[in-house]
Symmetry: C2
Subunit: 358 residues, 2 copies
DNA sequence: CTGTTAGCGCCTTCAT
DNA sequence: ATGAAGGCGCTAACAG
């Protein structure tokens, strides 16, 4: 019995201790059937004894695979992104792949990730979240030597790529229709910048749906009821304050995300507008906090989008030459307590009431 | 001029195209000064031409380093954890290290991470977030062959390990003292399970501080004013509802996290208790949403804790034999609008008022 | 300064 | 069924 060396244990140590060739040890590790159960047992025992773990780096080099999945995600601290990442992480943890997250907060970073990460030396597969490719990215993506899955991202001329998508136009329409059906005519839309350098399309598409719904209902479009600003609660609050201080303010506001809806609700609180009596608010995403704040919102399957993204990627990795899939995830209206019938006279009515009551 | 091969470009291709030895190319890549600027220029040009990127896996194997930092983090979707991870990611992105996150949601996973991740074959350095080692983990950690930094985690008999810590006892005391100074005598504490299998210590320590503050103020301890449950908004809401329905309910509640404070606020809303008139609420962490909901809370430097963790780790990596550092991050009371003077008679006074006014 | 060579630890063919 | 040998792409030590 030789002593356990202090340097890292290698496959060679195991082979020597077990008195077999190192090819045999390798076969045992990789569950190669052509090993007698006797020697397999012996080798496994030695492995335990030495507390041996195969060096992942060496495996990768030898296999010519990275054994890692890369995820390119914008603003990974946003609740919706976090939820998608959770779905990815949970699903991937059971596989042999490592997960490495590339957080994108600038366009430069976006471009460098697109350029450098989607390479076989970096990852065996790539998931891109919410970053819809621009025209010039298409070629890059379509001839990538690594399988790619787009989650919550799309492009009209894209058919060769796996995608998990949602219909944000439809979602925006459903949200606006909900408000219209409650009798609202003055419906605001507050979102992050529609024409942004990241090419985020969701707020734009939701706006399109909102617009269509308003038009179909023969409601006059009022440009003052649309406001865009940097994403975040405080900016949304600022925009909502401004909008609600209009001479004739909206009676309902559709926010492009739940986070922004929280900002709208906060603005209403500061203006002492009651929700939903004076102002209806609807958000988007159905993040965790939405249900506790009784926020009416459009639910999209965030967690599942990540989950499905990984499923599709692993499937592609297992059988490389499948046809690319394009999976549409449903969007659903969740009515809670922040939306209600439009006020009779105008949005200020009950505010005046409550003020005079003081 | 030879054609660009379709298989991945290697250092050998570059060497051949440039008409130099492959050692020279390696030197150029690694900024080894002993290359004439002429050949350096030539090589760099060839690298650009071939769009060559060194294979990271091969580099790792050859260097005997993984060039990755591992982060072991519990429940990475929690806002406080996300914020810490943001600090880590931002700081690490400028280095040459990859980041790989191990999300821990079960004790089994915690143990397997502790066992398998803290190995030189897996990572060059490890950051452990909020998972305080148990007695039996100490030995494992102290003789780890990889530098480890604990962030928001600690152990009394731990001096050989880098740590970024906070004083949660002090924080709990400050929170309770704030309420006491407002005249509150019936102060509830709502937290996640103090004696949990993950050995999370923060809620326990904050409870200790809370308890000490109450005692020092000669306020009678009422066990009914302490409730624990699984972490999360809804459970906190449930516990708060129950506590606020006591015959003599508390006039103030200290929640062990902002998320739980939101649950308390939600409970108050449902019971039509006004904040802070009928009920004062104080949270912990100062996550983003806290400022918008005007939540009084204990601020701890979440982002910075990650940042400092990485700084310390990179420092240790650069100069391995430094003395371990133990850095205490400050905790600060942020008074907003959810805490106010204790009601005169009892917590129900204004509730009764508002009900009779209906 | 630069080309050559010997590994890094593992997997995989090729013999046996 | 198993041992031996070559190679994955790169770095670093050595020789010139």
């Amino acid at each position: 019995m030789e002593p356990v060396p202090s340097r890292p244990i290698t496959i060679r140590d195991v082979a020597r201790h077990a008195g077999v060739g190192l090819g045999t040890v390798s076969r045992v590790i990789n569950n190669n059937p052509s090993v007698s159960s006797a020697t397999r047992e012996l080798v496994n025992q030695t492995i335990d004894e030495l507390n041996y773990i195969p060096n992942p780096t060496a495996r990768r080099l030898s296999l010519g695979k990275t054994l890692t999945i890369a995820v390119i995600a914008p603003f990974f601290s946003r609740p919706s992104t976090v939820e998608r990442l959770r779905g990815i992480e949970h699903t991937l943890v059971e596989s042999d792949y490592d997960l490495i997250i590339y957080n994108v907060e600038t366009v430069e970073r976006r471009d460098s990730c697109l350029r450098d990460v989607i390479r076989p030396e970096r990852a065996d597969g790539v998931i891109i979240i919410s970053l819809s490719p621009r025209d010039e990215d298409i070629i890059l993506l379509e001839r990538a030597e690594v399988p790619v899955v787009l989650v919550d991202a799309n492009h009209p001329s894209l058919t060769a790529l796996n995608r998990i998508i949602v219909d944000d136009v439809e979602g925006g329409m459903m949200a606006a229709d909900h408000l219209i059906s409650l009798g609202h005519h003055r419906i605001g839309y507050i979102s992050d910048i529609l024409d942004n350098s990241f090419n985020f399309t969701s707020s734009r598409d939701r706006f399109r749906g909102y617009y269509q719904a308003i038009e179909s209902a023969n409601i006059e479009i009022n440009p003052a009821y649309f406001a865009q600003g940097v994403h975040g609660l405080s900016e949304a609050r600022r925009l909502a304050m401004k909008m609600l201080n209009l001479p004739i303010p909206p009676t309902a506001i559709f926010a492009a995300s739940d986070t922004q809806a929280l900002g709208v609700m906060e603005a209403a609180r500061r203006l002492e507008l009651r929700i939903p009596d004076d102002l209806s608010v609807i958000g988007y995403d159905d993040i965790e906090v939405a249900s506790y704040l009784e926020l009416t919102t459009m639910r999209q399957l965030l967690y599942e989008s990540g989950q499905r993204g990984v499923d599709v990627l692993l499937q592609t990795l297992a059988e490389p030459h499948q046809n690319p899939v394009c999976e549409l995830l449903p969007t659903e209206l969740v009515v809670r307590k922040t939306t209600g019938p439009a006020p009779m006279i105008n949005g200020l009515r009950s505010k005046i009431n409550s003020l005079s009551a003081h």
